[in-house]
């Protein structure tokens, strides 16, 4: 994008990000860095952000609120970075966003979509994903309810971490499915610190529900299917909020048994979205592996860069105040599809979230049909 950029050579700039290199969120932190770095490489290759060469500065927040607050203050006041991008998780995004707002910086962020991010009266936050978190499973419910009455699952089991990211999604899906006549045969919330998921998984298996909807992060996203395999429990459909979207990190632990598992995703390597092919090929060139290895976190981070790039061009400035007002208007193209932001920074009018499903060892888009590269496999095949 931005082919009309006036390319007067301008001073190089630094963009600051606090990422979790250690602690609870360190896994995702790494993917963010990959996405941001790739974007910086791209933008510099085409002459910089409005002509400013971009350097990324990452600092570790050790997954702690105290450190994330410190980091953004330091980035803005000591390193005097021109722009800041967001960290991983709503938990850290919220404390960070107040600090960033204090200095009137724009705060485009890839991973803080929890409900409270948008109700704090801040105008500088922009959540660069196709939908606010709680709507993540909406298209999945649409899909289930669109099935012919005979095939439609009769009952559903829900289990979710009590995490501000996962639970709202599952709760919303539950109310929509119940409204659509799908009986709830099990519902359980479990603590985010749980390490042994087997009893909950067993209870889900015991419910013998047709559909299983799980609010997971990576470890439980693996643990649940494993227990189902052990118990020879074959629901017709399984969806997990996060985990299956993380490529080989996920499939590496389940082997062939990933097949049939679904995940809501704003992005897939195969999507015909703006700049996606280039992103995928460059990603593989830079970091190796296959398209299946690319984490959605990286794509989301990359999208943040894309949005900022377009806003800068549009505003013809990289001034934060101008960027903020520009970002509140108009639509922006990303590898996750087009999106725009309301007054609180919530994405609106986007295409919503797609459904991805593992089929023959690959995660592909299966719904809605407009983006699908194959029809959903339903009911899911038995475990091997």
């Amino acid at each position: 994008g931005g082919s009309t950029t006036p390319t007067a050579p301008a001073a190089p700039i630094t963009i600051g990000v606090s990422v979790s290199q250690t602690g609870d969120f360190s896994g995702d932190g790494k993917a963010l860095v990959q996405g941001y770095d790739l974007w910086a490489q791209d933008i510099n290759a085409k002459g910089g952000l409005n002509g400013h060469k971009v350097t990324m500065k990452y600092v570790d927040d050790t997954s702690s609120a105290q450190q994330v607050v410190t980091n953004y203050q330091n980035l803005i006041t000591v390193d005097k970075v021109a722009l800041v991008f967001g960290p991983f998780s709503s938990l850290l995004t919220i404390p960070a966003s107040t600090v960033v707002a204090r200095y009137n910086y724009a705060f485009p962020e890839p991973a803080g979509g929890g409900p409270h991010v948008f109700d704090r009266g801040l105008t500088n936050v922009f959540f660069v994903q196709p939908a606010a978190v709680e709507d993540n499973l909406v298209s999945y419910t649409k899909y289930l309810l669109s099935l012919p009455a005979g095939q439609r699952p009769a009952s559903a089991a829900y289990a979710t971490q009590d995490d501000p990211f996962t639970q709202p999604q599952v709760d919303k899906a539950k109310s929509l499915l119940e409204a659509g006549g799908i009986k709830t045969s099990y519902y359980k919330v479990y603590p985010a610190e749980t390490t042994d998921f087997t009893p909950i998984a067993l209870a889900v298996a015991n419910s013998q529900a047709d559909a299983v909807i799980l609010g997971t992060q990576l470890p439980d996203a693996v643990a649940f299917p494993k227990t189902f395999v052990q118990q020879h429990y074959n629901p017709k459909t399984i969806i997990e909020t996060t985990g299956p979207d993380q490529g080989a990190v996920f499939s590496g632990k389940l082997g062939a048994n990933t097949d049939g598992i679904m995940v809501p995703a704003g992005w897939t390597p195969d999507a015909k979205a703006y700049g996606n092919d280039k992103f995928v090929s460059e990603f593989i060139a830079k970091y190796g592996g296959t398209s299946a290895d690319i984490s959605a976190d990286a794509a989301e981070a990359y999208s943040v860069g894309q949005v900022v790039d377009q806003a800068a061009v549009k505003a013809n400035s990289i001034d934060n105040a101008k960027l903020i007002s520009t970002l509140h208007n108009g639509s922006y193209n990303t590898i996750q599809g087009p999106m725009s932001f309301d007054a609180t920074g919530k994405p609106v009018g986007g295409v919503g979230v797609y459904i991805e499903q593992w089929q023959s060892g690959k995660a592909i888009f299966v719904y809605p049909a407009t983006v699908a590269s194959a029809p959903p496999e339903y009911p899911k095949k038995s475990w091997q």
């Binding site: 250690t22 896994g27 790494k30 919330v189 479990y190 009893p199 909950i200 015991n206 990190v249 632990k253």
Partner: protein, 291 residues
Amino acid sequence: MTLVLEAAVLGVLTGGVYALMASGLTLIFGVMRIINVGHGALVVLGAYLSFAASRSLHIDPFLTLVITMPVMFLLGMVLQIVFIRPLKTDREALSVLVTYALALGIEGLLGYFFTANYTQLQAWYDTASFPIGSFRITYVYVFGFALCLAILAVMFLVLYRTTFGASIRATMLNRTAAQLIGIDVDRVSAVAFGIGMATAAAGGVVFGITTAFNPGSHYDLISRLLTIIVLGGLGSLRGAIVAALIMLVSEDITAVLISPVWANFVFFVILVGVLLIRPQGLYGVRVRDRL
């Protein structure tokens, strides 16, 4: 009801895994009066070593113990000699700091070499299961439980049936007196630390197969292990086993009967309740103190 029963069975099986991990911790405490808060990190280290070994040598995770246990044993001796032996005063308190620092260091190094992504060890038996009634038991838990019993039995025999074991216990109880009867207390302490670490390696394998882990997993682990050994009675191997079973069974049953979010809570209530009645834990001995 069957659910409760299943939860109980499962609790017993996973409890075995925790018992194995906790036994090394309680051993080190028993012998050296050191609360090794780095033990969780050592378990995670063991899991990573097994992970690396099974990857590169294409062998079964349990088989990697042949390599990782001796490696961890030696590493334990080195760590003890370099970091713990120099503590002359206030060993008990300071060793908490030292082992905490070790845990951080290990976490950092693991993050450096293995990244912070979650990993899990793989073997055919991690999903394979056999039926008992309507319920299916996964082989890995059975293997883990067997390994736990075997290692605990060996440890018990070594500690309580050999002169070397007696010298380990003597060293813990009175260093000066142990020196005066000719025990090489430095060597004994190093070996005991090594043994504790070797059991961490064994625990690491089973932990790594049953749970996804990353370098930061040790925080959760150590708080659970510490509560186990205190409930069981510090220094008591038998206590560690029983307490691990109580912990996992009570948690799993609560998860089924009430809700998983209260599972830990119920366990803590049990813990606090027991300690109020028996401050020394289930099997702890209250050493009569110089009255």
